[in-house]
Symmetry: C2
Subunit: 182 residues, 2 copies
């Protein structure tokens, strides 16, 4: 749900976040940059945290396509490639890393990060439902755990270790989780 | 390597980081809190980023014991329990989350996070060496990837999803990676 010009508002919100940080993000700044009246923005979102939460989930910039390749392995590899792009390719990476980093420090933003990941998991559910129907998953397998392992590994390698991801990373990470390393 | 009173200096550094954020961390503040002369601190570490990098790796507060239970599964579960404690139990969690969150925004701090994770991986290597000798790991298994999957999942679940970790999380995450979910 968004007013007319929703995408412009979201884009202005995320650009300000990426360039000025969460402290520098203001509804006034978003209004100026998007050409939408401040009171209109406040009518839809009562705070900058609420605006940012909506922007993260609804912006075209971070839009996620749910893969449907016919195999769980290829679907998961496609999802990992998507996460790598999200965290390494500007302008999406500037926004995603700034937003997720800020969520660590600002409790009112934590909800935005939670919505973002919940929304992603809801979209990823189709991958796991199809995999179950094809008999590609153990009955006990937990989709949230699988996505946390894969997305967490990308975050840790890119953001915390600061190491480049080679072309094989997605296939290796998915193979570890699907096939096991033991 | 550290001067006398090294642990007091590190503790003061990490307390200031946790309470005031990276912006509020100053060598002057550390000197005052630890009772060590500012010039002494500067003689060892040329910047607050260098001081923080040393503190993260050398402080007793975040010290890591390398488990040696006799099985890779139990060793990895112990490591995951250690990561969960690191990210959820104060005062270590306040420090670890503040430092890792700040590393996202401050390029000069990224090196501190990289040292922290490289130091951990060096300590974890013994676990994988023993597992290989016992025949518990595939030849192709990559210790860094395994630790990134596990540590990343803890970070994502605790910090980004904001969800509590139940007692079974460590066992479930380790089982997924060792045995595979397919």
């Amino acid at each position: 749900m968004a007013p007319r010009k929703g995408q412009q508002i979201f884009q202005a919100t995320l650009e300000l976040l990426a360039t000025r940080g969460y402290e520098g993000l203001t509804v006034e700044g978003v209004a100026e940059r998007s050409g939408v009246n401040k009171t209109t923005i406040y009518r839809w979102w009562p705070s900058k945290a609420a605006l940012l939460a909506a922007a993260l989930v609804e912006t075209d910039l971070l839009a996620m396509e749910t893969p449907d390749t016919g195999s769980l392995r290829k679907d998961l590899e496609a999802l990992v490639h998507g996460m790598i792009a999200l965290l390494t390719q500007p302008p999406a990476a500037d926004v995603a890393v700034a937003a997720l980093g800020a969520a660590v420090h600002h409790p009112e933003l934590a909800t935005a990060a939670q919505h973002f990941f919940a929304d992603r998991l809801a979209r990823e559910t189709a991958v796991f439902d199809r995999a179950r129907r094809r008999g590609e998953l153990r009955d006990t397998a937990d989709p949230m755990l699988i996505m946390d392992l894969l997305a967490g590994a990308v975050w840790l390698r890119v953001v915390f270790r600061g190491l480049p991801l080679d072309d094989d990373f997605a296939a290796a990470a998915v193979a570890a989780v699907l096939d096991g390393v033991a």
